[in-house]
């Protein structure tokens, strides 16, 4: 599995990737198409485009922290 870090991409590129995956942003947070801020499903925090990780499946976007990542792995299996 090839890994691409958002930390290496410009903000414009991150926004393009999000849009291509069917999401939006208000410039700071990831939003749905209605403009509602998306929350990390495990810690309930709003997800910032500068601090996000995107997992396969139904395009699950999470806050980039160890607890959320490990919670995803325990729920869906290891992807790395």
């Amino acid at each position: 599995m090839e890994l691409k870090s958002f930390k290496d991409f410009s903000k414009e590129t991150k926004i393009l990737i999000l849009k291509e995956l069917g999401h939006e942003t208000d410039g700071i947070f990831v939003t749905d198409t209605s403009g509602n801020k998306m929350k990390d499903r495990y810690i309930g925090k709003n997800i910032e485009i500068d601090n996000m990780i995107i997992f396969p499946g139904s395009t699950i976007i999470l806050d980039d922290n160890p607890l959320s990542i490990v919670s995803y792995i325990e729920e869906f299996g290891d992807v790395f």
Partner: protein, 236 residues
């Protein structure tokens, strides 16, 4: 040109960030949809988690801990230990996230792993010649009741009073195991408490050890040959 684009160009110029065309983004997303590519955040976070999940210590936990919530918290303990030296600021952020999501019980479980005591607990209980199933159940039950049966002795703790509280917990609930652990100068207090309980508690094996100069752990393990069916009414 919008201010965002200017700031983006500035950001890219300074940090050497990659700016992709729409076609290049579409290619990446195509790979992502085919599960050939993953979009991650910090590379260090992923590398650290991979290293932890490949460690012999995690393999031991993986074998005996099946409860998903406990598995997550145990892994957070390993991460907290790695971050101790690598990134103290990140450890504070992670501790806050754990407390907000899993409460004080969650951080206590992670701390028990971080300090290396969970591995020692498993190693000690394995030598008691119990089945894998019984070990797993006992371990998970003990972790779920971490606030009651895994006791971290701190320096200000009053020795007599703490010994009395622990004696009551053991005599009233008859836990399979009660663990007392301490760090640095508080180990003196923990050893005194162990000395008091040694004289007062019956039908429990006591195993204690210094894991290093500054880390002490003491196990009170129920003698199931004595209690047999009587303990079926108690949990854990």
């Amino acid at each position: 040109m919008s201010s965002n684009v200017i700031s983006d160009a500035f950001e890219g110029g300074i940090k050497g960030l990659i700016k992709l065309s729409i076609e290049e983004v579409k290619d990446l997303v195509y790979k992502y949809r085919n599960k050939d590519l993953l979009f991650i955040g910090k590379k260090e976070t992923i590398e650290r988690l991979k290293k932890e999940r490949n460690s012999e210590e995690w393999k031991l936990f993986d074998k005996y801990i099946k409860d998903k919530k406990l598995r997550i918290l145990v892994q957070m303990g390993l991460t907290m230990r790695d971050l101790e030296n690598d990134d103290p600021e990140e450890i504070s952020r992670l501790q806050e996230v754990i407390v907000n999501t899993h409460g004080s019980r969650g951080i206590h479980i992670a701390h028990f792993v971080q300090t290396g005591f969970l591995s020692n607990y498993i190693g000690t209980v394995i030598t008691e010649n119990i089945s894998e199933k019984a070990l797993r159940e006992g371990l998970e039950e003990t972790l779920r009741a971490v606030d009651k049966y895994i006791v971290f002795i701190k320096n200000p703790d009053k020795i007599e009073e703490t010994a009395r509280i622990l004696q009551q917990r053991i005599e009233v609930n008859l836990p399979k195991v009660l663990i007392m652990y301490s760090l640095k100068s508080a180990t003196k207090n923990a050893k005194k408490i162990k000395g008091i309980l040694e004289e007062k508690i019956e039908h429990y094996y006591i195993r204690d050890m210094n894991l290093s100069k500054e880390r002490y752990i003491c196990f009170f393990i129920r003698d199931d040959n004595y209690y047999k069916e009587d303990v079926a009414y108690f949990s854990p």
